[in-house]
Symmetry: C2
Subunit: 236 residues, 2 copies
DNA sequence: GCAAAAACTATTGTCAACAATATTGTTGAC
DNA sequence: GTCAACAATATTGTTGACAATAGTTTTTGC
């Protein structure tokens, strides 16, 4: 039994809290930790989340764990069956495609808004990064660096879009597909195709062509989806 | 002070629960009640939601109210300030426009998926209803009936799209803008323009032209948004 | 009479014990 | 040997009491 999935990231003070400073964000901290661990599959799909166990591992009362689990349920990261407990949601292929349908239109909206909201020049640095360094990272097989670069791209766009509701929805989707995105990335030929598509999107943004940028971004996600469809047995 | 906003819809058994049947959905019931009351502004924006008060009004322990408020916060219907309590979220114009941006692409996706998922003929009845009876309702000024018709249209499309994530997102948006949608409807000329647009969408769906249906639905929502922009001082 | 401090009140946040329910293990009969 | 009923255990669900915090009023010093 994998009981050591849990274990706090370094909990130095189980008995007493830090006496001085603000520690009001504790509950949120806990939730955030669980979210990322589920998103990265450090806690894998299908894992049982026992309240008592978690409470002990995190050194917090069970009520707080309970609250966190409730929040995770609302975000769709865990499923709670009455009197049976919570398990990490397992996504089947059909659900993944449905998520991608939604993601496609939301990411499309996101680049459109971003293009409209900030001056065209502000995309220059990202464009150059994607035309140069990112290309090299791929050739050297440094997928971690590439992923980091892609994440930065995504975050910049989301920030520029400046739409809190959209941000929340994309975050909610992202934490469900994070692992999947990385798995698609290592499919044969996917990374370089993706990179070309990202560059096309960025070029449109650089020109200030919001409509075209949206269209290209949507095409990009549909293309990722097609890869997933073709190689599904290797990914899942 | 409007303390009688609350008061349960008819709580006949405060001391003991129904002895026999399933009543597990209690907690969910409470949440649902609060959601609809906030969505319809029966509980108006800015209203303070006191846990103790709610607990007494609903005849449930405070912990359950607390849980419900937590859920409402996650859905963005209330804002919780630590140690200060929860107030119903008040939307300003900027936020409303941001919501409409998201709604536009999601409803667009929704009609596209719906068109792809079910046979073309299944839209025939709705199309006829919109070309005939709905028109009459408008002419007779029966906005309640018209609204009900529109709701049915929306629900059919959402159901046909068969995408739980999308459904949830649209529901979440809808409960924030429900009142607003009705206010837009009574703007001069809006209803008839809207009806024409809905018919155009339905015609495209009837033809099985998913792409065009999506485009038309998006145009429809952008048009609603423009009305809102023009008449904003009358609506808010 | 005004301002600042202190006591008070109202409200939310935390917790640990208790109850209800589901699962697992054990016993007995056929 | 297998199945069913029953007992034991583990896990979640519920509740009320207590602690902490923010807002409000009163008091006191100038």
């Amino acid at each position: 039994m994998p009981t050591k999935i849990l274990a706090m990231p370094r909990r130095t003070k189980p008995p007493k809290r830090a006496p001085g400073g603000a520690r009001a964000g504790r509950g949120l901290d806990l939730l955030q930790t669980l979210r990322t661990r589920i998103a990265t599959q450090e806690i894998p799909p299908g894992a049982k989340l026992r309240e008592h166990e978690l409470a002990e591992a995190f050194g917090v009362p069970r009520a707080r764990i309970r609250q966190a689990l409730f929040a995770l349920e609302q975000r769709g990261l865990v499923e709670r069956i009455p009197n049976r407990g919570a398990v990490v949601t397992r996504l089947d292929l059909a659900q993944i495609f449905r998520i991608y349908d939604v993601r496609e239109v939301l990411e499309g909206l996101c680049v459109r808004l971003a293009t409209q909201n900030v001056p065209n020049e502000s995309w220059q640095d990202l464009l150059e990064k994607f035309q140069g360094p990112m290309q090299e990272m791929l050739q050297q097989g440094d997928l971690d660096a590439y992923t980091a670069g892609y994440d930065a791209f995504r975050r910049r766009i989301i920030e520029a879009a400046a739409n809190p509701l959209l941000t929340e929805m994309l975050d909610s989707i992202y934490e469900k597909t994070q692992v999947l995105i990385r798995r698609i990335l290592i499919l044969p030929g996917r990374a370089s195709v993706g990179l070309r598509e990202h560059i096309a999107v960025l070029e449109a943004m650089r020109r200030g062509d919001a409509g075209e940028a949206e269209r290209l971004r949507r095409a990009n996600l549909r293309s990722a989806r097609e890869y997933l469809e073709r190689y599904q047995k290797y990914v899942l």
